[in-house]
């Protein structure tokens, strides 16, 4: 799965000038981050330019995110594949690269058309079951029961296998990131 977010601006980082001390709030808000050797800070800056973010999201990582959200400490949340993808983008790679309000459109290249070469990318029930298998036997200390039951797994796979074309992914991403449909991106099949 490859997701391209077209942008009118993006985050970048520059050295915090000498004599400027970040507050705890600045740090918590992600406005600065530690330099490589811990000797100072880099500040997050917004650069206005037409550009795009490219994220190559492995199918295995989509599945692992679905399983992570289904863990007891994360509320046993069950999501569809498209919901997992949008949640992953919002909470992981975009956090330090993209302000949601700077997204102008999305482009999605799903991989299910690669089935003919026998590759593991794209919707893959076999891979889902392989990755989920250890969590059917590993137990949650608070209950002594498996982290996932067989019923949990089947319900998760049913949601995961929900048929979704690239256009639907694009629509969902626009909704999730509140990007106006008027600037909707194109869905591309590869």
């Amino acid at each position: 799965m490859r997701v391209i977010a077209h942008l009118k601006a993006h985050y970048d980082y520059a050295p915090l000038p000498d004599g400027v001390t970040p507050s705890g709030q600045d740090i918590a808000a992600g406005k600065v981050r530690a330099k490589r050797d811990g000797s100072g800070w880099m500040m997050r800056v917004r650069k206005e330019r037409t550009t795009h973010n490219f994220t190559a999201l492995p199918e295995g990582e989509i599945i692992r995110h679905i399983i992570a959200l289904a863990m007891p400490k994360r509320g046993r949340r069950r999501v569809t594949r498209k919901e997992a993808i949008s949640d992953y983008l919002a909470t992981q790679p975009y956090v330090d690269q993209v302000d949601h309000t700077d997204i102008t459109s999305f482009e999605v290249h799903d991989d299910h058309r690669l089935d003919w070469v026998g590759g593991p990318e794209g919707v893959n029930e076999k891979l889902f079951r392989e990755i989920a298998a250890p969590y059917l036997t590993a137990t949650y200390a608070a209950t002594g029961k498996p982290l996932l039951s067989a019923e949990d797994l089947e319900a998760m796979i049913k949601l995961y296998l929900e048929p979704v074309e690239e256009a639907a992914h694009v629509d969902h991403l626009h909704e999730r990131f509140n990007v106006p449909k008027a600037t909707a991106g194109k869905a591309v099949t590869t």
Binding site: P15, R36, F54, P58, G60, E61, P93, Q97
Partner: protein, 276 residues
């Protein structure tokens, strides 16, 4: 280095200095010897963790040195062009390709870190795969594994035919594999492996999700681990190969602050943001 130049520049605007003073200030800073900076953050059970500095293995020996990896990745390295860069194998195994008539370069680090692509033999028989060369003699390439080129997660492919055709590609394999360890060890720039790298409880080495904004000075790698047992995460690193025995180029290494102990069902999502 870029950071150091910017810092030096900022200082110059504030208080003019001579070139000699600037050189002295530059050389006095250990960070000035680095070619980039790297930073990590992680989410533990959905809660964002702190940023923390990390280091690059700039004084490591052999092909695991971050500087050597970068030079060969951007400058092509020893695999640029030589007679045996393409040919036909005389034998293959799950981790090797032999051409008994070849003269593969062995000086220095040899072809370590380069990619060899193997395809069907002259009869059209055999798989299409690639491997990362971890060492070589003049006639044998040893790879970490044979990869399925359609996989973005580094899945293993089928061992190529014993008489497979092959090409050794200029450059180096990208360092996109992410790993964690549970050993009490302070990362050092001379490290070549991640001490006590975890391979159990759901914490095995894996390829991260790549994300980059065009023209930005950073890129990110992300990976999700969900524990099936109890482990304390002490260090983490990025590798240029899947080698499950702990090998491969390791350009980045970082200590986990407060070394979180994860129990079965806990999730750790690490985002590594690397400034170029």
């Amino acid at each position: 280095m870029r950071e150091a130049f910017l810092s030096a520049g900022a200082t110059a605007f504030a208080a003019p200095m001579t070139v000699d003073e600037a050189i002295a200030a530059y050389e006095a800073s250990p960070a000035a010897q680095e070619w980039h900076v790297s930073h990590f953050r992680s989410d533990l059970n959905g809660e964002r963790g702190p940023w923390r500095p990390n280091l690059t293995t700039t004084t490591a020996s052999g092909y695991t040195c971050a500087l050597d990896w970068l030079a060969k990745a951007m400058g092509a390295g020893p695999s640029t062009a030589f007679a045996s860069a393409q040919g036909a194998a005389t034998a293959t195994s799950g981790t090797s390709l032999t051409n008994s008539g070849a003269t593969f370069p062995t000086a220095g680090q040899g072809l370590a870190g380069s990619i060899v692509v193997a395809g069907p033999n002259s009869s059209g028989t055999g798989s299409k795969v690639y491997g990362v060369i971890v060492s070589n003699t003049s006639t044998v390439l040893t790879v970490d594994q044979w990869y399925d080129p359609t996989s973005t997660t580094g899945a293993a492919g089928t061992t190529p035919n014993g008489t497979a055709s092959y090409v050794i590609v200029p450059g180096q394999n990208p360092a996109a594999w992410m790993a964690v360890s549970n050993a009490a060890h302070t990362p050092a720039t001379s490290d070549t492996t991640l001490s006590s790298e975890l391979t159990s409880s759901g914490f095995s080495r894996a390829v991260g999700t790549y994300s980059h904004t065009a023209a930005a000075t950073t890129y990110a790698l992300v990976y999700t681990w969900t524990a099936t047992g109890t482990q304390t995460i002490v260090n983490e690193a990025q590798f240029g190969a899947c080698n499950t025995t702990g090998g491969g180029v390791m350009p980045f290494e970082s200590a986990e602050p407060s070394s979180p102990t994860l129990v079965s069902g806990d999730t750790l999502q690490n985002t590594v943001t690397i400034t170029i």
